[in-house]
């Protein structure tokens, strides 16, 4: 039987959650025994190539490209996991959520104290995905099956959840592994 496939992506996140995944240290060798990686920042595969058992979502949803990626993951993965506070609640990027978008953009590109932009141009190349009005937790855009909060969730948390799922055990985190910070 072929190994189950795992895909992962970083949306509006800082890659810290993926770093935490790598932080499982030598257990990564066991993980590679258990699964094959499909689309992921770890192997730089750009699109999901075949049906995946598990999709790991880092980061919330802040622009139209994030929405497309989330839909690709939902369509092609049996189980979707939001990992990290950014995915589960928006995280640091969601701090912009109670500031009007225009104000955010002006601060970033025109008015910020360190900005040099004499012509007052804001980036609007069609290649750049449009920002959403707010940063959304992943589960407010597609259905998410499991949540692993934390900024980032610890390597032990990720390991416990992944091994449980891959061995058909219920995902029940012990008290010390459920943290929001």
């Amino acid at each position: 039987m072929s190994k189950p496939r795992v895909a992962s992506t970083s949306l509006a996140g800082c890659f810290g959650c993926h770093m935490s995944l790598l932080d499982i240290d030598d257990r990564i060798l066991q993980l590679i025994e258990l699964v094959d990686f499909d689309r992921s920042p770890i192997d730089d595969i750009k699109h999901i190539s075949q049906r995946c058992a598990i999709g790991l979502i880092e980061g919330g949803c802040c622009n139209e490209e994030n929405v497309h990626v989330l839909h690709e993951f939902r369509k092609n993965c049996d189980i979707l996991i939001s990992f990290g506070d950014c995915a589960t609640m928006g995280g640091i990027p969601a701090m912009r959520n109670n500031i009007p978008l225009e104000e955010c953009i002006n601060e970033a590109y025109r008015d910020g104290p360190t900005v040099y932009n004499p012509q007052g141009i804001t980036p609007q190349d069609p290649e750049i995905p449009l920002l959403l009005d707010k940063v959304y937790p992943a589960h407010e855009v597609v259905k998410i099956d499991y949540f692993l909060p934390g900024c980032p969730p610890s390597a032990d948390t990720l390991w416990a959840a992944l091994t449980a799922l891959l061995t058909n055990q219920p995902v029940e985190l012990p008290y010390e592994l459920l943290k929001y910070d």
Binding site: T88, M89, I92, A94, N97, N98, P149, E176, D181
Partner: protein, 235 residues
């Protein structure tokens, strides 16, 4: 003792004394009833409803309801656990709780209840309301993003400090903690030594320059769920 009575919590008979609340009697018997607005040094007001139990078939706030002989109390039923979880979920989505940089994280009672209940994400949509931060006081900060309107600060200021620094103002979703009406904390007679400065269950009233003093792993709720101290009294 003549005022000694017997009550039952989840079928277990415990001793209580007339004049106690259900919560006080449960605490003494080593039974934890979750709570947020209640505090041992303050008069209970029964506002958060996290401590809801079912007494002889009726929902009651355990922090205010006095014990009576023969009371049958339900505490850990699936319905009550769900009800409490719902309240905690609402508190998370109705504020802006960024635990990852909150000075209170690890020592926060709201977060600790969420951990105890095993909440991995709230079931309601996040509101991301617009809230103020009041940093006008030299030693204390007020971050309304994290306030859960438990009114502990209001009571502590009046009952313990003999002041009246905090009040609850406004209605419904607009309700918030005010300081001397609409003024700023820096304009009040609040002192960092006030009991009110230490009473907040969450990271709304924060002392300046002491944040993140206790390392991760050594904070109150890092290893032991909230309520463990009470459950440790008796088993």
């Amino acid at each position: 003792m003549s005022d000694a009575i017997k009550i039952k919590i989840d079928g277990k008979e415990i001793e209580a004394r007339l004049g106690q609340t259900i919560m006080q009697a449960a605490d003494e018997a080593g039974i934890y009833i979750p709570r947020l607005c209640a505090h041992p040094d303050l008069k209970p007001i029964g506002s958060c409803r996290v401590c809801t139990v079912v007494v002889d078939g009726r929902a009651q706030a355990a922090c205010v309801k006095p014990v009576m002989e023969g009371m049958e109390i339900m505490n850990e039923t699936p319905e009550l656990l769900q009800h409490r979880r719902n309240i905690i979920d609402m508190m998370f989505v109705e504020g802006n709780h960024f635990c990852m940089f909150c000075e209170k994280s690890g020592n926060c009672e709201l977060q600790a209840l969420a951990y105890r209940f095993g909440i991995t994400a709230p079931q309601y949509p996040y509101q991301f309301p617009e809230k103020d931060v009041d940093a006008t006081h030299p030693d204390i900060m007020l971050d309304h993003n994290r306030c859960i309107m438990c009114a502990r600060c209001v009571r502590a200021s009046q009952e313990l400090d003999g002041k009246n620094v905090f009040q609850s103002i406004g209605r419904g979703f607009e309700r918030k903690i005010g300081v001397d009406g609409e003024r700023a904390l820096g304009d009040t007679d609040m002192a960092v030594t006030d009991k009110a400065a230490d009473i907040c269950p969450v990271g709304c009233i924060i002392k300046k320059r002491v944040g993140f003093e206790v390392p991760v792993g050594k904070r109150i709720y890092d290893k032991e769920p909230i309520g463990s101290d009470i459950e440790g009294v008796k088993s």
